[in-house]
Symmetry: C3
Subunit: 432 residues, 3 copies
C-alpha cells in the first residue's frame, strides 16, 4: 500500500487554497501570478515567455487576455451575474462589450448545464472572437423577459504567453519529463492538483542525493503551452527523454487511473503499470484514445516522446469536471498525497531500474561471502535469502532490466534493491 503523508498533503492543499481564486487563462496576469507563487516555493523555477504571434508548428500564440470587470445588470440595476463572484462566470477570452440587450439576444451568450442546475460551467473561446457568461441553470431559468445591461471590460492585446521550466540535473543527461498545466481558472482537481503535486515532487527531487536522471519539469498552459515548448526543444527532448508523465487530476480521493503512451509499451508504461499493480489495489486503465491533456502533443507522430498519465479520477469522467463544482471540496490532503506518493514511487522505480551484468561465469561461491548456509541441509527456510540472490543473479545477463527481473521473480523492484546492493558490494554484478 502507498504511504499517505498527511503533512505533505496539507501543505499541497494550502498551496491550492492560495492559488484557487486567481483567474488563470492561456495568457495574462493570472498565469504570471500563479507562476510567481510557485517560484516562491521553488526559487530555481525559470519563468519563460514567448510573444503573441509566435509561430509554433501549426499554431500561433494568441493575444494576451486580461479582465478588469464583467457583469450583467437588469433594467432595475440589479446585478444578475458578476465575474467578481466567480471567475468561471466569464467565457474565457471574451472581448469587451457594453450594451443593453433583450433576454433573447443575451440568451445566445449564456451557458448553463440543465442536468447540473447548481453548477457554473467552464467555457472558453480562445481562438475565436466572442463573448459570453456562464451561469447556473437555476439562475438562467429565473431570468425574466426584459432588457439587460451587459458589461465586459477586458483586454486582448499583444503580450506574451508564459510558462515555467525547472531543470534538476542528475548524474546522467538522460531525462525524465514531468508536465502539468496552469491555464484554468478556479478549479481544483482539473487544474490545481497538477501544479501543487508537481511542485511537491520537484521539492522532494531537489532534496534527493544520487539522482541518476535529470528532471525536466514544466508548468505550461495546456495545448498551446506544450506545443510552444516542443517547438523550441523538440530535437533535445527526442534525444534525451527516457520517460515522462503528464500530471493532472491528482487531487481527489476516488480512483487511481493510468493512461498509456501512444506506443503503449515504453519504459514509463511498464514502470507505471508495475508500480500501480504493486501498490494500488484496483485502478482504472484507460486507452490512449481516451487521452485529453498534453500527451496529445507529447505522443503525436513525429514527436513520439514516451509520455503517459497517472491520475486520480480522470478528467471527463467525474461529474464535477469543468464546472464550478470542481472546487476545493473535491480535493483533499489525502487525495493529493495519494497522487504525490504514487508518482514518487514511479520515479523511484525509474531510478532503481538499471540493467546489470554478472561479472562471473556460473554461480559464484556464495558460501565464502557468508551469503549461503554453511551446512547443506534439507530445510528450505535456510535458503530463502540465498535463493533470491541467485535468482536475481541468474537474470543479470546485460539484457534483462531490473523491472523485468522483478516481474519474473514476482517481487517489486523495491524488494530487490537490497539484493542488488549486496551483489554490487560483493563485486558480483555491474551496472551497464
Amino acid at each position: 500500500m502507498l504511504n499517505i503523508d498527511n503533512k505533505i498533503g496539507s501543505e499541497m492543499y494550502s498551496w491550492a487554497e492560495d492559488l484557487f481564486p486567481i483567474c488563470r487563462s492561456l495568457t495574462g496576469p493570472g498565469v504570471r501570478e500563479t507562476l510567481n507563487y510557485l517560484k516562491k516555493l521553488i526559487p530555481e523555477l525559470k519563468i519563460e515567455s514567448v510573444p503573441s504571434g509566435y509561430k509554433a508548428f501549426d499554431w500561433t500564440v494568441p493575444k494576451e487576455w486580461s479582465v478588469v470587470a464583467a457583469y450583467i445588470e437588469d433594467d432595475k440595476g440589479n446585478v444578475v451575474v458578476d465575474f467578481k463572484d466567480n471567475n468561471l462566470h466569464l467565457v474565457g477570452y471574451s472581448h469587451s462589450i457594453d450594451k443593453w440587450v433583450e433576454l433573447d439576444e443575451l440568451d445566445d451568450h449564456l451557458f448553463s448545464l440543465p442536468e447540473q442546475p447548481t453548477a457554473i460551467p467552464y467555457v472558453t473561446s480562445y481562438y475565436d472572437l466572442n463573448w459570453g457568461f456562464c451561469i447556473t441553470d437555476i439562475l438562467r431559468k429565473q431570468l425574466k423577459e426584459g432588457k439587460y445591461h451587459v458589461v465586459i471590460d477586458s483586454k486582448l492585446e499583444d503580450g506574451v504567453l508564459n510558462y515555467g521550466e525547472l531543470i534538476i540535473p542528475g548524474e546522467t543527461d538522460r531525462e525524465i519529463l514531468l508536465s502539468t498545466y496552469i491555464c484554468h481558472p478556479s478549479m481544483a482537481n482539473n487544474e490545481l492538483s497538477g501544479p501543487v503535486v508537481t511542485t511537491a515532487l520537484a521539492k522532494w527531487l531537489m532534496g534527493q542525493m544520487n539522482r541518476k536522471y535529470t528532471y525536466r519539469i514544466l508548468f505550461v498552459p495546456e495545448t498551446i503551452g506544450s506545443i510552444v515548448y516542443l517547438s523550441k526543444h523538440l530535437e533535445h527532448l527526442k534525444k534525451k527523454v527516457d520517460a515522462g508523465l503528464v500530471v493532472t487530476c491528482v487531487g481527489d480521493d476516488r480512483d487511481y487511473s493510468f493512461l498509456p503512451s501512444r506506443l503503449g509499451s515504453t519504459l514509463i508504461d511498464r514502470v507505471s503499470l508495475s508500480v500501480m499493480s504493486s501498490f494500488i489495489g484496483e485502478f482504472k486503465k484507460y486507452s490512449f484514445l481516451d487521452r485529453g491533456s498534453d500527451e496529445r502533443q507529447f505522443c503525436s507522430p513525429g514527436v513520439d516522446l514516451p509520455v503517459a498519465s497517472i491520475m486520480r479520477t480522470k478528467y471527463g469522467i467525474y461529474p464535477e469536471y469543468h464546472t464550478s463544482l470542481d472546487d476545493l471540496s473535491l480535493i483533499s490532503p489525502a487525495g493529493l498525497s495519494g497522487g504525490y506518493s504514487l508518482i514518487k514511487k514511479v520515479i523511484q522505480c525509474l531510478e532503481l531500474n538499471n540493467t546489470y551484468i554478472s561479472k562471473v561465469f556460473c554461480e559464484p561461491q556464495l558460501g565464502k561471502r557468508n551469503l549461503y548456509p554453511r551446512l547443506s541441509t534439507k530445510s528450505k527456510a535456510d535458503y530463502v535469502e540465498a535463493e533470491i540472490i541467485l535468482n536475481v543473479l541468474a537474470y543479470c545477463d546485460g539484457q534483462t532490466d531490473l523491472l523485468r527481473i522483478s516481474e519474473i521473480l514476482k517481487k517489486s523492484i523495491f524488494e530487490l534493491k537490497d539484493v542488488v546492493n549486496i551483489l554490487i558490494d560483493n563485486a558480483l554484478i555491474e551496472e551497464l
Copy 2:
C-alpha cells in the same frame, strides 16, 4: 451488413444458366466454349494456350480430350446411361471403347454413391488412361446380370490447354490477383459460381476510376492451369502481387467462409478477416490445412504468393459437392450477390488501405480549419467529429496502415475514408 444487389445477382445467375450445360474438362472444346462466352462479357479477356506436352515445373500438360458420344445399352438395345443426358455420366478423360461386357466387368467401371442414391458423382482420371461411367446408386442397383454394350467415342490427342487472362491496369504496378477455375462439367457452386462472380467483379473494376492497384484476373483449369500460369509468370508475380484471392464456391446461400494463406497474416488475410468481421455476422474460419483449390499452388513454398480464399459454403463441406446435386438449384441470385458483394468490399478495403504520415508536429489547430468546436464546452457530443479526426491523425505515423488504425479505433475502414479525405484536403497528412 452486406448490400445484396439482386440485379447483379440475376445477371450472374443467367450467365451460370448459359454455361451450365457445357462439358468442361481440363482441356478441350468445353473450356474454349466457356472462355469464348466470358470474352463476350469482357472483350478485353485474352484467351491463351499452351500445347499438350508443355512442361510446367513438375507437371506436363496432358492431351486434349473431347467427347462425341458415350452410352451404355443393354442386350435389348435399351439405353441405360447416356452422356447426352448429363455430362457427369462420363468419367473425365475416358478413352474410346466399343465393347460388349458382362455386368461384372462393367461394374468395375461404374461409380455411384450409396449414401446419396439419387446423385451422379463427379469422377475424373486425368493422368491415367481409363474409362468409366458415373450413375446414381438407384440405377446401379437396378442393373441386371447380362451383357452390356459400352460405347465411348472420345478423342485424346495433342492439342492445347486454354486459360483466360485479364489485366486491368491501375495507377500503380502493384497487383491484386483473382483466380478462378473453368474445368468442371455441369456443376454450379463448385464451378460456375467462381467464373461468373469473377466476371462480374472484373466488369465492376473496369468501370471504377482511380484504381490504385493493377488487377490480374485468371480463368484457369484447376491445378494444372495455375501451375502452367505460375511457371510462365512466377518472377513477375513474386515481385508485384500484394494480395490475391481464389474465387470458388461463391454462389449458394448458406455459409460465408474464409481460408487463410499459408503464412496466415499477410495483407489479404488481415483485410479479409477485418471486412468479414465488419460485414458478416458469423462466418467459418478454416485452416490452411483445409485448402483444396489453387491456393495449394499459389501458397506453395518458393511460390509464396499472399493468396487466400473467400467462399460461401466451402468445397468438400456441403453434401452436394462433386455430384449432380450441385446444380443450378443450389445457387441463387442472392447467393451469388453475397459472394460478389463480399469480395468487392475486400477489394475496396485493399484500395483504401494506405499508410499516411502526418505533415505537422503535434496536433494541428483544427479550429482555424473549422474542424473543431469554436467554444470549448463540457459537451462530449460537440467533439465527436474532432475526436475521430484527431484519433486518425494520432496514428498517421508512416508505419500504421489505415486497416490497423481502423482496428485500433474499432471502426471499419469505410467509416474512416471521409476523415482521411478531410485530412488530405487540409494538407495535414500525406500518403506514403
Copy 3:
C-alpha cells in the same frame, strides 16, 4: 504412451543396487569407485581429474575427503551410531575427531528430522571445516544425559576431483549434452537414477547407426564438477551445443516433470515439451526459478547453454528427498525405464528434427509417383495419405523445422518420419 522396457529397467536397477552402498562425496575414493564401475559398463568412458586447489571461475576445488571409520559410543561402550551401518550418518566432509563430550555438546553436532522421525537426513559441509552425525529423530530422543565418545577417522588431504566424460561422435559436430552427478552417498532417486539412466542411454546411443549429433555425456560431482568442466570447455560448448539435459531424479514411479532452460524457448525446451505432451498424459511443468541442479551452472548468464531438465519426481518435491528414505525401494525398474524411455524419445526427436526445403515449385505431381489416387473421387478416405504428404510438403520452406510442422499438423514428429522419407526418396525435398 511410452514403451516401458522392463529388461533395460531391471538392468539399470541392478547397477543401482551395486552402486548404492558406496560412500560418494564431492571427491574421494567413493567417486572413483563409482566411475570405475560405470567404465566397466562403458569402456569408452574417460575418467578425468583436477587437483585440489584448482581454480574454476569463482570456485576452488576442495581437498579430497576419505573416511576410515566414524561412530559414537556411550560411556558403557555401546555403539550408538556407526557410519558402517549407513554412510548418511556422517556429515559430508567431517574432519577427524576423538573426544569424550557431554550430550549437550554432542547435540550441537547432531542432525535429525522431527517431522520424519525414522529418516536419517543428508547433510554436508563441503566448504567449511566442521563435523557432525545425522541420525533418526527417534534415536536422538532416546539419547540420555552422559558422556559420549565421538570418533571420526577421516582424511582431508590434497588430492583430486574426478569426473567422467564420454564423447560419442556423430555425423556432424553439433552436440547434445547430457549431464548427471555422482556425488551423493547412498541415495537412490536423487543420485543413482541419474547415472544409471545416463549409462543406459549412452549404451543405446553407441549402438545407433547414423547419429546426426555428437553426444557429450558427463558424470560430474554436482556444482563444483560442472563448474570445473565449464571452466575447461566453455568456448567449445558455447559453439557446439545445440541442446542439453541434466539427468536427475529419473527413477521413481510417480510424476514426470519438466524444468525449462533459463531462456525457456530453446530447441530442448520445444522438443521436450512436444515429446512429453505426445507421450505422457500429465506431467509437471516447473519454472526455471525452481531449478536446483547443474542447470544452475549451464544456464547462468555468460554460459547460457540450452540445457533443461527432464525428471520423474523432482528433487525437493518428494518427502524422502535428501534422507535415508530415498533408498532402493523408492526407485523401480519400471520407474527407471520410464525416465530412460522418455529421454530416449527426446533424443530421437532431436535427431529427426531437421529443416527441409521443397525442390519443386508448386505441388509436385504425386500421381505419377503412385502417391495420389488414380481416380479423383469424392471420397476423403482415398486422400488421407496424399493429404499428409502434401501438408508436410507445404511447410518444407527451408524455415519451418519438422517439429514445428508436427505442431501445425497436430501429429507427432514420429508419425511424420515415414512421410519425410517418402519425400526424400522421391527427390521432392532436401535437408538444409
